[in-house]
């Protein structure tokens, strides 16, 4: 007689329930440091100095933000100029990177040409190198070309640094799109360019959004490269200027906190509102 293997009809699986400890941990760990900076930025210097500290701003004031955004003087001027710089540099670097990565990813995913494999792995191979290993040669190249202290120099360096990952994410995305539609379009007489523009791009929009966000956030977070590539305020991004202020002891911590909050507003807003695209993009980029 064969043993009868049968599933019990009433199997009690552990009900998937939220784990309160983990949830409390994630919220505390991620948000308390940011809350604290916000809290300090809404206080006066005297309030910041009390012991124990105020866990809530006793009389919330926007004077630190006002001082930075509209006030006169050296420090606010530098903050405002470097805020413009970081937006221009990250915006331009993102556009350049995403456009080139889209073209390259399409070529690698769909076209056959000599040396394709070598090129593709050459581009990807650069991702394995720590970024800082290229710092010195890049600096010397940029100073040879006279591009130190220019937007162009920083945008070129960012684009070269972020292209491999962007290409990789988009390549994976495009390779997963169904080939049949493109073939049908080709049969109907569409050119490569038309196929890319009319069919592949609209389908690849989610992948392009992910790549755009990840590239922009990476550019916004840069510090050492712009520190080396820009020695004056003409091209220094906000990250470099804030760090320089932090080293100067006459800049009060409440003001510095307000500057910090200003510097994280843009990436925080992007991360919170578009996190779905970040998650899918990061996972597509990390499966090596």
């Amino acid at each position: 007689m064969r043993p009868v293997v049968r599933r019990p009809t009433r199997l009690r699986l552990p009900r998937p329930r939220p784990r309160w400890f983990g949830i409390a941990f994630i919220l505390t760990w991620s948000l308390i440091p940011l809350y604290w900076t916000l809290n300090v930025s809404l206080q006066t210097d005297a309030q910041v100095g009390t012991r124990p500290a105020h866990y809530l701003p006793p009389a919330p004031t926007l004077r630190n933000y006002q001082a930075l955004l509209t006030g006169p003087g050296d420090v606010p001027g530098q903050i405002r100029r470097s805020a413009v710089n970081i937006v221009v540099e990250c915006g331009a670097a993102t556009v350049v990177t995403v456009v080139l990565a889209t073209l390259a990813a399409y070529a690698f995913a769909r076209m056959r040409f000599r040396g394709r494999g070598v090129l593709f792995y050459g581009v990807l191979g650069t991702m394995a190198l720590p970024a800082y290993a290229t710092l010195i040669p890049l600096y010397r190249l940029m100073s040879m070309l006279g591009l130190v202290n220019t937007y162009t120099g920083i945008v070129l360096v960012y684009a070269s640094g972020f292209l491999p990952l962007a290409t990789w994410i988009l390549h994976n995305y495009m390779a997963s799109l169904p080939l049949a539609i493109e073939e049908a379009a080709m049969v109907d007489g569409a050119s490569r360019l038309q196929v890319l523009w009319r069919i592949v791009l609209p389908l690849a929009v989610p992948g392009i959004i992910s790549t755009t966000i990840i590239t922009f956030l990476s550019a916004w977070g840069q510090f050492l490269f712009p520190l080396v590539l820009s020695s004056d305020i003409s091209s220094q991004p906000l990250t470099v200027v804030i760090t320089a202020l932090q080293g100067r002891h006459e800049v009060p911590y409440a003001l510095l906190s307000a500057a910090g909050i200003l510097a994280i507003t843009v990436p925080a807003a992007i991360a919170v509102s578009l996190n779905r695209y970040i998650v899918s993009g990061l996972l597509a980029g990390s499966v090596k």
């Binding site: 199997l11 699986l13 998937p16 939220p18 784990r19 983990g22 949830i23 994630i26 919220l27 760990w29 991620s30 948000l31 308390i32 440091p33 940011l34 900076t37 910041v48 100095g49 012991r51 124990p52 500290a53 390259a104 690698f108 076209m111 040409f113 040396g115 090129l119 050459g122 581009v123 394995a128 720590p130 800082y132 710092l135 010195i136 040669p137 600096y139 190249l141 292209l163 490569r192 956030l217 977070g221 840069q222 510090f223 050492l224 990250t239 804030i242 760090t243 906190s257 910090g260 510097a263 994280i264 990436p267 925080a268 991360a271 919170v272 996190n275 990061l282 996972l283 990390s286 090596k288």
Partner: protein, 273 residues
């Protein structure tokens, strides 16, 4: 024309990259033979920072992996508010490292910091302490916590992605065999997410071996927390000794590649369901 353009863009890019690699071996390094390396290895600042970096790597990889697994397990099943929690979790990943340094300097600060204030409020310490720059190990631990704050979200996502590939029947089977929750975790869940853990460990390994922003902001050039990447910066751009800078970057690159390879060999196992 267009195909040509498509082929040329990455080609030029790759060429440019290989040009940089060639530059790493250009005259200052080559004609000195091994002098640069000898000078580096006998430089007490470099030795000290190498030791610091080892501590950063050990603390950082361990903490971010463990915390990443905890976060991923928390998010494994769907529940109300899970998307909000994921948004909160990702936040530290998206912020600039130096600004995170400034955010956390408000916590570790000796005069106004939250940590001092909270410990005093709970009567754990009598008066405010200096945490950064005093005790070397404590300094490194507190700085690395800041970097772990930035690295853990990606680790958690990588482990979470692997978790969601585990078929539900395996849990049913474990349940039928009478496995406790802990045994299910250590015998079923963790072995099956090894590939995800390996990738998470490699990303935090590369980041911690090259840590720069957090110690630079929180502790300046002080020997108690300087990392090897910071030495590269000081040697190249303050002492203007590019030859030694190249040599040190080359060493860091080699160590990074070797260490990544070892992690993948040890942790990565192809799993089939």
């Amino acid at each position: 024309m267009f195909i040509l353009g498509l082929a040329i863009v990455p080609a030029v890019y790759t060429l440019a990259q290989s040009f940089f690699r060639v530059q790493e071996l250009d005259p200052p390094t080559r004609f000195n033979g091994l002098d640069n390396f000898r000078a580096l290895l006998t430089n007490p600042n470099v030795q000290g920072s190498a030791l610091n970096t080892v501590a950063y790597v050990v603390i950082g990889v361990t903490l971010s992996t463990v915390l990443g697994i905890v976060m991923a397990l928390t998010l494994q099943h769907r529940f109300r508010g899970r998307p909000v929690l994921i948004a909160a979790m990702i936040l530290p990943w998206a912020l600039p490292g130096v600004v995170e340094g400034i955010v956390w300097s408000g916590i570790w600060d000796a005069n106004t910091g939250l940590f001092n204030s909270a410990l005093t409020s709970f009567h754990l310490i009598d008066h405010y302490q200096v945490f950064l720059g005093g005790n070397r190990f404590l300094t490194i631990l507190l700085i690395e916590i800041v970097q772990v704050w930035q690295l853990t979200p990606l680790s958690a996502l990588l482990v979470l992605a692997a978790l969601q590939n585990i078929p539900g029947d395996l849990y049913e089977a474990a349940q039928l065999d009478g496995c406790s929750a802990w045994r299910t975790l250590t015998r079923v869940t963790l072995p099956l997410v090894r590939p995800g853990i390996a990738v998470a460990m490699v990303q935090s390994l590369i980041a911690t071996l090259n840590v720069f922003d957090q110690p630079y902001v929180l502790n300046g050039a002080a020997e108690t927390g300087a990392s090897v990447t910071m030495q590269t910066y000081f040697i190249s751009f303050q002492n203007l000794d590019f030859g030694q800078g190249y040599a040190l970057s080359l060493l860091i690159t080699v160590v990074t590649l070797l260490a990544s390879f070892v992690v993948v060999k040890v942790v990565y196992r192809q799993v089939e369901f």
